[in-house]
């Protein structure tokens, strides 16, 4: 039986919050099992926990190709300079079909017009043939204010074929949701509640936030998946930079809630700045990557082979991670965005 056949996947977006199981891995190889509600027990006074406050956009737009009227879906891939976006093009069908099995999209060319509900219109600027004919660049034909109004009226959340019911926009938000810059949810925070956060604070744990626009995790198109993650926007205020540098200078632990927080903090990497940082993260975290800021991570459980695993093996050796995952499989942990979580310290 293959590894993935042993795994149990979350099939519902209903959150178990503090009851979600927590796989705790110490970097010396000790493995234990707890629940997300006990997260404060693993933290000490002076630790810094950094959360991602990005809200998730409804990132899927269904419409038609003009003038043929053929059905298309686009999923936001990367925000370029407004009103331009890199998007993934799908043909007829919906989320109930895994993306890799979806009907190929109709042929589009530079200048093709895509029309969505509410008279939201986009023009194709480029087809990234070097990667895939399904990765295209479009520009929306609206002012920025009008774009967001029409976008929020027309767009739907990206759905996952392994879930049994449609995801609503609120299913994709975390308790920290603020600036809508995430294309897929920063799902590590799904089990967290304010009660857990406030208990950490009472214990003397410092809670800080940044914004990181988590991007697509998978498109079902191998050629595109190989180049993921796309560059992702992030924002770190000067105040948060200063607090993290101070904590580092005092030897305190910095624990990232989610891989996006790691990507943002390690992209900044403690550089001296004169103000807030608003940049794009292009960093790809590999097992060899030497982290400068983050010492621990609280994260979801993802399948072997996902880029996510590469990131986790920068915290703990592949051998320890494999042993921990095998224990979790044996204890029926749930995998994927709405599943269980792990803490590596």
């Amino acid at each position: 039986m293959g590894k993935e056949e042993l795994m149990k996947f979350a099939t519902s977006s209903s959150r178990r919050l503090e009851h979600s199981r927590l796989l705790v891995i110490s970097n010396d190889g000790e493995i234990s099992h707890s629940t997300a509600g006990n997260l404060p027990d693993f933290l000490n006074q002076g630790d810094v926990v950094v959360v991602n406050d990005a809200a998730t956009m409804p990132s899927s737009l269904s419409g038609i190709l003009k003038p043929s009227g053929e059905h298309i879906e686009i999923r936001l891939g990367q925000a370029l300079e407004f009103p331009k976006w890199k998007v993934i093009l799908f043909g007829k069908g919906d989320w109930r079909t895994p993306t890799e099995n979806r009907t190929p999209p109709p042929v589009v060319t530079t200048g093709s017009v895509l029309e969505f509900p509410g008279q939201l219109t986009a023009r194709v600027l480029d087809i990234c043939n070097g990667v895939s004919e399904r990765l295209i660049e479009v520009e929306f034909l609206e002012s920025e204010t009008m774009f967001w109004r029409k976008f929020y009226a027309a767009a739907k959340p990206i759905q996952y074929s392994y879930l049994k019911t449609d995801l609503e926009l609120w299913d994709q938000q975390t308790v920290f949701s603020g600036p809508p810059i995430a294309i897929e949810p920063p799902s590590a925070s799904f089990p967290l509640t304010w009660d857990i956060m406030f208990r950490m604070q009472k214990k003397g744990v410092e809670i800080l936030s940044l914004s990181h626009g988590t991007g697509l995790s998978n498109t079902g198109v191998n050629a595109i998946d190989k180049i993921l993650p796309f560059p992702e926007p992030y924002f770190i205020s000067l105040d948060v930079q200063e607090r993290i540098l101070q904590a580092k200078s005092q030897g305190r632990r910095i624990i990232a809630i989610g891989t996006g927080v790691v990507r943002a903090l390690e992209s900044w990497a403690g550089r001296k700045t004169n103000g807030d940082i608003k940049e794009v993260a292009t960093l790809k975290l590999t097992p060899e990557f030497k982290r400068k800021i983050v010492t621990g991570i609280f994260s979801g459980l993802h399948e072997p082979g996902a880029s996510h695993i590469d990131l986790l093996t920068s915290f703990v050796s592949p051998g320890i991670l494999a042993r921990a995952y095998a224990e979790a499989e044996g204890r029926d942990y749930l995998w994927h965005e709405y599943g269980d979580v792990c803490l590596i310290l």
């Binding site: 809200a55 204010t145 967001w148 609120w170």
Partner: protein
């Protein structure tokens, strides 16, 4: 008059009555405001006239809440002050509680109570993480006094007052303040709908109530984390 330069406000029901007057006052004092209304056409016109941001949405509709919150942050960058002003009477002429349909009280609670609950829940995380923010819930004397025929509206506003108080208890050490403001009887379309033929000369103008509301919120009187204030 205190300057509101640099402050970011989200006002629901901002195309008429008190919401419109508060939005005007905020802009007059240098603040930036995003107005929420389900009535797109008047909203766009008013927003353009005032220099406000416009967000089309219905706070009584669960599906609109995160769309409103997201656009608020896109337009404003952050929300410092949330004014939950949208309200409905349910049906008019007002009816006794015994003749109030269950569907009417459900609708009133959706707009007057659950709407502010949901929108506050969507906006509060940023305030808690910044350790700074104010939520202003518009109330009424009917939330503390029992008047004949005002049942559904009164119950919703009494619950809204208590919700503000509870939230304040839970978040008082996190820098977020909550106020329930009773602006008094105002010369508005809603008042006319509720009590047709009232002597308008005896009613407070919404512009006056808006000035009093902002003066209170920005004054030293408002140093408590929670207060129910009748203007």
């Amino acid at each position: 008059m205190k300057n509101l330069q640099g402050t970011k406000w989200l006002v629901t029901g901002g195309t008429s009555g008190l919401g419109l007057a508060v939005s005007k006052q905020i802009i007059l004092r240098g603040g930036t405001v995003a107005i929420v209304s389900r009535r797109e056409s008047p909203l766009l016109k008013i927003a353009e006239e005032l220099g406000a941001k416009a967000i089309v949405g219905d706070v009584g509709n669960k599906e609109d809440i995160y769309k409103i919150a997201a656009q608020a942050v896109l337009h404003l960058g952050r929300v410092d002050y949330l004014v939950n002003n949208s309200s409905t009477l349910g049906v008019t002429p007002l009816r006794s509680f015994m003749d109030t349909e269950c569907e009417t009280i459900e609708k009133v609670l959706q707009v007057n109570l659950l709407g502010p609950f949901r929108l506050s829940k969507a906006i509060l995380p940023g305030m808690i993480l910044r350790k700074q923010g104010t939520v202003i819930n518009i109330s009424t004397d009917a939330s503390v006094s029992a008047y004949e025929n005002w049942g559904a509206y009164s119950v919703s506003k009494a619950a809204l007052d208590h919700m503000s108080h509870i939230w304040s208890e839970e978040l008082k050490s996190h820098g977020v303040n909550f106020y329930s403001i009773d602006p008094g009887d105002m010369d508005t379309a809603m008042h006319e709908e509720a009590l047709p033929g009232s002597d308008r000369a005896k009613l407070k103008k919404p512009d006056q109530a808006a000035k009093e509301l902002l003066d209170f919120i920005l004054s030293s009187e408002s140093e408590k984390e929670w207060e129910r204030k009748s203007l």
